[in-house]
Amino acid sequence: MIGFRANDQEEAPMGIGGKLFLSLFGLVFLGAGLLIGWVIVRGATAGLQTWSWRKTDCEITASAIRQQNQGGNQNGDFFFEVKYRYTFNGRQYSSDQYKRSAEKSEDYNKIARLTERYPPGSSALCYVNPSAPSQAVLVRYNLFSLLLVLFPVPFAGFGAWAVYYAWFRKSAGEMAAQPISDRASPPRGLWIVVLFFSAFLLIGCAALYGFFLRPAFKILGARSWPAVPCAVISSEVKSHEGGANDGTTYSVNIFYSYEIKGREFKANTYDFMGGSSSGYEGKQAVVARYPRGTNAVCYVNPDDPTDVALERGFTPRMWIGLLPLLFVMVGAVGLVWLFHSAWVARATRLCRRATGPADPRIRRLAKALLRACSPSLPVPVGESPTGTGGSPVLPTEAVRGAHGAGTAVAGPALSSSGRAERLVLKPAVSPWTMLFGLMFICLFWNGIVSVFVVQSINSWRYGHPEWGMMILQIPFVVIGLGIIGGVFYWLLAVLNPRPHLLVTPGAVPLGGTLQVQWNFTGRAGVLRNLRLRLEGREESASRGENSNTITSIFANLEFANVATPREMRSGEARVTIPASLVPSLAGAHNKIIWAIQVHGQTARGPDVKAEFPVTVLPAATAARL
């Protein structure tokens, strides 16, 4: 046995090189955040001025759809062109500004709807700059756009924090001068985790709505739309060039005309999904079905003749719109986990308060709570057995202080009497949890990686292989394949026989003897050998760059090693806890874990491995109970 004292690993003070590097790193983020923020604020300031402009009646003199931009170039966008006149302070003016910037869209129908809303000869309201009445707009700045200002805040904030941390963080000496007992305060920064998962959930919900739910609702609504003959004016696969690292994407661009009540309308909506994606052939096949000059059938919204589509059903591409569901799941699972943890912490506080010595009514409630609480709920042994008897301390102070620290022993609930009571142990992790957890990670990881893999394959198929991108993907693909392998492993593991453990007493004192009964459900015949041992280990979690959990086993007591089918299927054994060791401890980051390890060797497939935590009490607590 090797033993030595664990000491604090103090961080070495940062050298000047490290400070400069971190400052530079932070300044890049801070600069980028401030620059983006400045651009957004400048645009918003100009836009916000329109809210001080005076509301005035105006008359639309012309409105049309233009395909060229101001330079006369065609890039596939449609522009809204409008002219109107108005009288301000007795003088007549005219303007051609719909809003502060040009209104354009790839979607013809969106611009067509504006021409419907502002037909020539109609009256409208415009907003006139009182200090320069020749300036006017039909639509003021959208106040929701102000939310964009929040976008660069995390970048700038992170950059500022990095610079501050490099130069102004507390030294080890300053930290040492602070009371250590202050560490027992409730953890701060939980709201950051809540914000993180909330952002995942909100972004996921917004993307899910935009990419899947909205098109799906449109599809369902369009089932009752009448079919109308339409003529294909032009038909092509439109290319969208991405940035340096993004490949080219494609979209179906079929321009067609149709008549409603004797009036001609035009549109370029193929389906309700819209947007572009990789994959050329599928789009080419669609375009081939609608050659220029042919007649087709389109479906028109009876309430809005500009709301139209050539394809009103579900298309295979729509399933891509379900990808944001992964973000929704990460956010939702994270928040549920946080709120569940908060609930458990609250229940723990109640349980602990209830076990206090002050009030017999509360003590009765304690016993009821402890029976009702999950076996994994911490029970209080870190507090004074006699409470404040003879102590000048208020009981609530003592209890509150201990709660903030998360001082507790994790493990099965005590019996109401605290004495020999049987307890069915719960495994630390069930194979089903592992399987579903890994499947979730597998879907999340491979779902994202597959988007880039498909893009790379397409680039290769269409003769523009993006080798750099493909090489970059290799480690991500290898990890993804590893996760898939893990899913298959746990898929086999859930088919294994399942161990069930019953211990007497439910919580054993140091120096006491634990009676363990086991039995297996499922295919126990596959077992070739079964070993049970009681393990005591230290476990400490660290955060930061090398976030991990460090463990060290200090006790390993094998108490059963059987190989006959009858003994393996069910049996009983006893194990004595050495009195010279330590009881269970469950701090927020540091734990003393006592657990029964079950290892069943199988003929084929994964072995049966399960851990069942048990509670080991201080000898004095057990004696008192």
């Binding site: 664990a6 404040t388 301390v393 003592a398 400490s540 959990t549 701090g587 980051h589 540091n590 003393i592």
Partner: protein, 137 residues
């Protein structure tokens, strides 16, 4: 110059679980504090994040700039003071002047026999090496 210190009864620093601990909390500060707290707590040292748990707190209100007050605690059953490979658990009393947070600390040992438990380190149970987890041995 401020001075915040804890003196334990009979100079003892090692205790049995459940035993009574007595002593005197004394302070001499530059200006009168709002209050002074005496905290009985444990904390961890080691390779990972640190934990701490305050078990009892005595608050001395209406504290003078210079004073000494007696105190008495009933120690809890656990956790024990121990020293392992990755975690050490230390019990201590801390006297904190508020709001300046000038602090005096006195470490104690709380374990059976008044001796810190030393935890050894055993090797991980030997795992059978197999290329594939489901292959025959």
């Amino acid at each position: 110059m401020s001075d915040v210190k804890i003196q334990l009864g009979a100079g003892r620093t090692a205790f049995e679980p459940g035993e009574e601990l007595t002593g005197t909390a004394a302070w001499k500060l530059d200006k009168p504090p709002q209050s002074v707290e005496l905290r009985l707590f444990w904390f961890t040292r080691g390779q990972g994040e640190k934990d701490a748990g305050v078990v009892e707190t005595v608050r001395f209100d209406h504290a003078l700039r210079e004073e000494a007050r007696p105190f008495r605690f009933r120690l809890p059953d656990g956790p024990y003071s121990f020293s392992g490979k990755v975690i050490s658990l230390i019990w201590a009393l801390e006297l904190v002047a508020l709001p300046s947070k000038e602090t005096g600390r006195q470490e104690i040992t709380l374990a059976p026999g008044g001796k810190e438990v030393r935890l050894g380190s055993l090797p991980e149970p030997q795992a059978r090496k197999r290329l594939f987890p489901w292959g025959r041995r």
